[in-house]
C-alpha cells in the first residue's frame, strides 16, 4: 500500500480532509480548486497538522492522532514539489539542488535527466518558469525521498513545457518507482498521470 490516509483539518468553518488508500505507482488527487487538495498534500508533507486521523505512506506511519505520532516534516522523507517552485533566491541553482541532498550525490545524473545541467551556475531569478519547475523537481529528487508529493506540477506552463514536464514526471514514476501523489484540477492530466488511481475530492 502506497498511501493510506484518513485525515481532516478544520480551518475557520471549512473542513478539509479525505480518506483513501492507494497501491504502488502514482495516485492522482483530482478536484476543482478550493476543495483542499493542497491542504491535504501539506498534511502529508507535515507542514499542516491534521485535527484527527492518520497518515501512513509505504507502510510508515507519519501521523496518527490516536497514537500521538507526528513526524516532523524534515524526517518524513517526502519529496515535495510545490505549486510555485520555491527556489531559494540567495542560493545558486546548484546549491538549491544540493540543499537536501543525502548521501553520494546523483546531481549530474538527475540534472541531465531533467535537462537542467546547463543551469547549475545560474541564479533562480534568471530562470524561466519551466526551468525553475524542473529545478524544483530535481531538488526534491536529490533528497532521495521515500515518496513524492506534486502539487499542480504542470500548471502555469505553456503547452510545450507542459508536455515536457509531463514526460519528466512519467519518467520519474517509471524509473524510480516511488509512490507518488499528484494534485491536479485538469481531467486530462489526471487521466494520463494517475491511470486507474484517481481520487476525486
Amino acid at each position: 500500500m502506497s498511501f493510506d490516509i484518513d485525515v481532516s483539518h478544520r480551518r475557520g468553518g471549512v473542513v478539509v480532509g479525505a480518506a483513501f488508500q492507494s497501491g504502488a505507482g502514482s495516485t492522482v488527487l483530482f478536484g476543482p480548486s478550493g476543495v483542499g487538495k493542497t491542504s491535504l498534500l501539506m498534511m502529508i508533507a507535515g507542514l499542516l497538522r491534521p485535527d484527527r486521523g492518520r497518515i501512513c505512506v509505504a507502510g510508515r506511519p507519519l501521523f496518527d492522532a490516536d497514537r500521538r505520532i507526528n513526524i516532523a516534516p524534515e524526517h518524513r522523507r517526502a519529496g515535495v514539489v510545490f505549486q510555485d517552485p520555491r527556489l531559494f533566491p540567495h542560493l545558486s541553482v546548484r546549491r538549491n539542488l544540493l540543499y537536501g541532498a543525502d548521501g553520494p550525490t546523483t546531481l549530474a545524473e538527475i540534472a541531465t535527466r531533467l535537462d537542467i545541467a546547463h543551469l547549475l551556475d545560474r541564479w533562480p531569478r534568471t530562470l524561466s518558469g519551466g526551468e525553475a519547475r524542473r529545478v524544483a523537481i530535481g531538488r526534491a529528487l536529490l533528497r532521495k525521498p521515500d515518496f513524492l508529493l506534486l502539487d499542480e506540477p504542470l500548471s502555469s506552463l505553456d503547452r510545450t513545457r507542459r508536455e515536457e514536464a509531463m514526460q519528466v514526471i512519467e519518467r520519474v514514476r517509471d524509473d524510480m518507482r516511488l509512490p507518488m501523489l499528484i494534485v491536479t484540477h485538469d481531467p486530462e492530466e489526471a487521466e494520463r498521470l494517475g491511470g486507474d488511481q484517481i481520487i476525486r475530492l
Binding site: G46, E74, H75, D84, F88, P89, H90, G100, R125
Partner: protein
C-alpha cells in the same frame, strides 16, 4: 580636528557602537516575537517596545535615573553583584542610547523578518532541514541585509541621542558628553558658536553616512527577496 573635537567624536562613536551592538540581539529577539510569535499580550509588548519613540525623552531619562540610582532596583543589583554604577558614566550613556534606539531597530528588523517568505522555510523543512538549520540557512541570510540596515539606523539614532542621556547621566565632558551634548554645552558658552558649527557639521555628516549605508543595505534585501 582639534584634540577636543576628536575626543568628542571618538566618545560618540564608542557610545553609539556599544549601544547598537548591545541592543541588536535584544532587538532581534523582540522583532522575532512580534513578527512570528502568537501569544496573548502581543499588542501590549508591541506598545511597550515603542514607548521610547513617543514618550518625552526626558521622561525616559528620568525613569532610567530612578532604576539605576544606587537605591533603584537595577542600580542596586549592579552595585551588589558587580560593584559598578553606570550613573554619570559613558556606559550609562550607552544604555540611554540603546533604549532610545530599540524601537527603531525592532521595527526595521521586524519588517525584514516579515519580508522573508515562509513558504521557502517550508520548502527547506521538506528537504530535511530542521528548524535551526532552516533559520541559519534560509531565514537569517535572507533577512540579514535588513538586519544590518536596522543596526545602522539604530547607530544613527544613538549618535543623535540627547534628552534621555542628559537627564540620566548628565553632561560630563570626556565621559558622557557626546556630540549633541557637546553642542548644547557650546551653545551655552559665550563665544562657543565656532565650536557649534564644527560639531553640527560633524553630526550631520556622520548621520548622513549611517543613513546612506542603511538605505543601501535595505535595497540589497529588496533584491534578494525576489522570489520565483
Amino acid at each position: 580636528m582639534t584634540d577636543e573635537l576628536q575626543a568628542i567624536v571618538r566618545l560618540s562613536l564608542l557610545i553609539g557602537g556599544v549601544a547598537t551592538i548591545g541592543t541588536l540581539p535584544i532587538a532581534f529577539a523582540l522583532a522575532w516575537l512580534l513578527a512570528r510569535g502568537r501569544f496573548p499580550g502581543k499588542i501590549l509588548l508591541d506598545g511597550i517596545v515603542h514607548l521610547p519613540l513617543v514618550v518625552p525623552p526626558v521622561v525616559t531619562g528620568w525613569l532610567l535615573l530612578l532604576a539605576f540610582a544606587p537605591t533603584g532596583p537595577l542600580g542596586n543589583l549592579l552595585e551588589r553583584w558587580f560593584g559598578v554604577s553606570i550613573l554619570f558614566r559613558w556606559t550609562g550613556a550607552a544604555v540611554a542610547a540603546a533604549i532610545m534606539a530599540l524601537p527603531l531597530m525592532v521595527r526595521a528588523i521586524r519588517l525584514s523578518i516579515e519580508g522573508v517568505d515562509q513558504r521557502l522555510e517550508q520548502a527547506a523543512r521538506t528537504l530535511g532541514a530542521g528548524p535551526w538549520r532552516t533559520f541559519a540557512t534560509i531565514t537569517l541570510p535572507l533577512a540579514l541585509p535588513g538586519i544590518l540596515a536596522a543596526a545602522m539606523l539604530g547607530f544613527a539614532r544613538s549618535l543623535g541621542e540627547f534628552g534621555a542621556t542628559i537627564t540620566f547621566v548628565s553632561n560630563v565632558p570626556g565621559e558622557t558628553q557626546t556630540l549633541p551634548l557637546a553642542i548644547y554645552a557650546a551653545l551655552q558658552r559665550p563665544g562657543g558658536e565656532a565650536m557649534v558649527w564644527k560639531l553640527a557639521a560633524i553630526s550631520i555628516m556622520l548621520s548622513l553616512v549611517a543613513l546612506i549605508v542603511s538605505e543601501l543595505l535595505g535595497r540589497r534585501q529588496g533584491r534578494r527577496l525576489h522570489v520565483l
